[in-house]
Symmetry: C2
C-alpha cells in the first residue's frame, strides 16, 4: 500500500529513474535490472500512484463525457460504445449526466478548463457559438457525438435524411395525412438539441417532394418523453380530420404514440401507421418501424477520433456521417383510408 517508487528503488539498489523506466516499459533497461526491479515490486506489493503519475506526466488517461439524460436508451447505447472503446484504449470514462439547463451550461463551461480529463466527448448537445469558441480556445481535445459545430469534429447521422426516409416510407404506403411528434421547442432551445428539428425538416421536405401541403395542426412538440408524446398524439388523433400516420422523432415518443392509439381504440397499423427513430432495443420487441442509427458505433467512432486528437493528430474539425436505414416492421402498413 504505502510503498513508493523510492522504496522500490532503494530495495532494488537502483536509481529512481530506473524503476520508472521499468514501470513505463522503456526498452533502455537491461533484462537483469528489470527482473530485479520487478521482483522487488512484487515483493513490496507496490502499485504506482496514478495521481502522481498523472500530475507528473500531464496525462490522466481519462475522458469526460457530457451526456444529456443518460438513462435514455439511445444515450446509454452510445455511452456503451464509448466505454468499450475507451476501456480498450486503457482510458477511463467520467460521466456527466445533464438533466437541467443549468448543469448543461456549467458542464460546457467548466469541463474543458478543469484538466481532470485528457479529452471531452459531448453527446447531443450542440455548443453555442461562444461555447464552441471557448472549447476550442481551451485546447482540450473535444469530439461531438450526435451533433455538430464548425469548430469541433463530430460523429453523427443525417437526421434530415432520416426524417425524409421515415416520411417517404409512409407516403409510399399511400399516406397523405401524416403527423409529426417531436421535442418541445423550448427544450430544444434550452439544451441546444438539434436532432428533432432536423428530423422535422426531413419530414417537411418529404412532404414537399410529394406535393403534400404540410398542415400546422399535424406538427406537435412536447417535452421529450413517452408520456408527453402520448398526450400529444391523443390530441392529434382526436382532430376532426386526424392523421393516418405519425412520424415520431424518437422511438420513445413513438411508444407514446402507440399508447395514445391504444387509449383511443385505434388499431396499429390498420388504422394508424407509426414510425419512430433510433431503433432502440425495445423497438424490435414492439415491432416498431423505425429509422435505425448506429448508436453504439457513434460512441465508438467518437472515441477513435478523440484519441487521435489526444495523441496530437490535429486533423481539421470534420463532420463524419454514419449510415442510417429504415427498418420496416409491424407498425406501418398501406393506407386504407
Amino acid at each position: 500500500m504505502g510503498a513508493t517508487i523510492r522504496d522500490v528503488a532503494r530495495a532494488a539498489g537502483v536509481g529512481l529513474g530506473t524503476v520508472s523506466r521499468v514501470l513505463n516499459s522503456s526498452s533502455l533497461v537491461s533484462p537483469a535490472t528489470r527482473r530485479r526491479v520487478l521482483d522487488v515490486i512484487a515483493e513490496l506489493n507496490y502499485t504506482p500512484s496514478q495521481i502522481a503519475r498523472s500530475f507528473s506526466s500531464g496525462k490522466t488517461l481519462t475522458v469526460a463525457t457530457i451526456a444529456p439524460f443518460f438513462t435514455r436508451p439511445s444515450v446509454v447505447e452510445r455511452l456503451r460504445g464509448i466505454e468499450v472503446a475507451l476501456a480498450a484504449g486503457g482510458y477511463n470514462l467520467v460521466v456527466f449526466n445533464v438533466e437541467t439547463v443549468a448543469r448543461r451550461d456549467a458542464c460546457m463551461r467548466d469541463l474543458p478548463r478543469r484538466d481532470r480529463a485528457d479529452g471531452l466527448l459531448i453527446i447531443s448537445l450542440a455548443p453555442r457559438p461562444a461555447e464552441a469558441a471557448d472549447l476550442e480556445a481551451s485546447g482540450m481535445p473535444v469530439v461531438l457525438i450526435d451533433t455538430q459545430s464548425e469548430r469541433q469534429p463530430s460523429v453523427m447521422v443525417d437526421d434530415v435524411c432520416g426524417g425524409e426516409l421515415a416520411t417517404r416510407h409512409l407516403i409510399e404506403l399511400g399516406h397523405r395525412r401524416i403527423g409529426f411528434v417531436g421535442d418541445s421547442l423550448e427544450e430544444q432551445r434550452a439544451f441546444n438539441f438539434t436532432s428533432s428539428a432536423n428530423r422535422l425538416l426531413g419530414y417537411l421536405r418529404a412532404l414537399e417532394a410529394s406535393g403534400i401541403a404540410p398542415r400546422p395542426e399535424y406538427e406537435c412538440h412536447g417535452i421529450h418523453g413517452r408520456y408527453e408524446a402520448r398526450v400529444l398524439a391523443q390530441n392529434l388523433l382526436q382532430q376532426p380530420e386526424p392523421p393516418t400516420a405519425i412520424f415520431a422523432a424518437s422511438d420513445t415518443q413513438a411508444m407514446g404514440v402507440l399508447e395514445a392509439a391504444r387509449d383511443l381504440g385505434i388499431l396499429v397499423p390498420a388504422q394508424l401507421s407509426v414510425v419512430g427513430f433510433d431503433d432502440i432495443d425495445v423497438a424490435e420487441y414492439l415491432g416498431l418501424t423505425t429509422v435505425r442509427q448506429p448508436l453504439f458505433e457513434t460512441g465508438e467512432r467518437g472515441v477513435e477520433l478523440l484519441l487521435e486528437r489526444i495523441s496530437g493528430a490535429a486533423s481539421p474539425p470534420e463532420q463524419e456521417y454514419l449510415p442510417i436505414e429504415l427498418v420496416s416492421r409491424a407498425t406501418t402498413s398501406q393506407c386504407k383510408m
Copy 2:
C-alpha cells in the same frame, strides 16, 4: 490557460498560500485581500489544476463504480441515482462497465489499488471472500449496491422476500403450476451475481409455504436477456403439462416470456400469468405485473454511505435493506384452469 497559482500570487502581490486559501475559501483571508486575489484570478483567467490539487491533497473528488452490463435498464437507473447524488456532493463518477468475467476480475483486483478514486461502488457483483478481504485491506472506502458481503456495507433489497411476494401473488390467484425463469447458473457463478438465486429461493419458499411441490422441469435458467428468456419460456410452455403462470427473475426476462406466449398464441393473462422483477420503465408500458424495487434510491443511498466513509466515519459494514412492493398490473389474473 497556462497560468499557475504562482502567477496569481505574483500579480496580486501576495504569497502562494494566500491564493490557495482563497481558492479553498478559507475564512482566514481579509476581505480586501480576497477581493484582490479574485480579481487577478479573473483577469488572468486562471483555473487551478485539478490534478495538482488531487496530487497534493490526496483527494480526487472522484468515485469509481463497477457496473455489470450497464445498459440494462435496472443498472442504468441505479447509475443515475449514483450520478445525481455524486454531482450534488461535488464528486465525479467514473464508470467501469463489466461485460466479461475477465473484466470483472480485473476491476475487482485493480480498482481499489489504483488510487484514482476516493471511493468505490460495486453494483450487483458480490466480492468473493478473497476479494472482499483485499478490498478491505486496500483501505479504499467501498459500498456494495444490490449485493452484499461480510466486510463491506451494502444497500440492497430482500430478493428472497421479493421472490416470495411474486410467487405468493400467483398462488393467491389460484395458480398451482408456476414456472420460474432466471439467470444461467454459470453466469451467476462466473460474475458472482446473487439476485436471481435469491429470487428463486423466495419462489421455492412460497411454493413450500402453500404445500405446492416444486417441479424441477418448471425451473429454468439461461443467460440473462430477453431472447434467451423467450427460448426458455417457449420450452416451458410446450411441456405436456405447462405452467399456468411464470415468475421471471427480471422484467427483461419477463418480456422474453411475454414474447414466447405471443409466439405460441398463448393469451396473457387469460391463459398465462407473468410476473417480473425490478419495475423498469417499460414495465408500466407493457402493463407488466412486477416486484418494484427502488433502483434510483439504491444508488443514491449507496453514495450517501460511501461519502460518509470517505469523510472518515468508520461505521461497521452494515447491510441496509430498501423496501420492495408488488405492483399488480395486467399480466396476471385468476387461474382458470
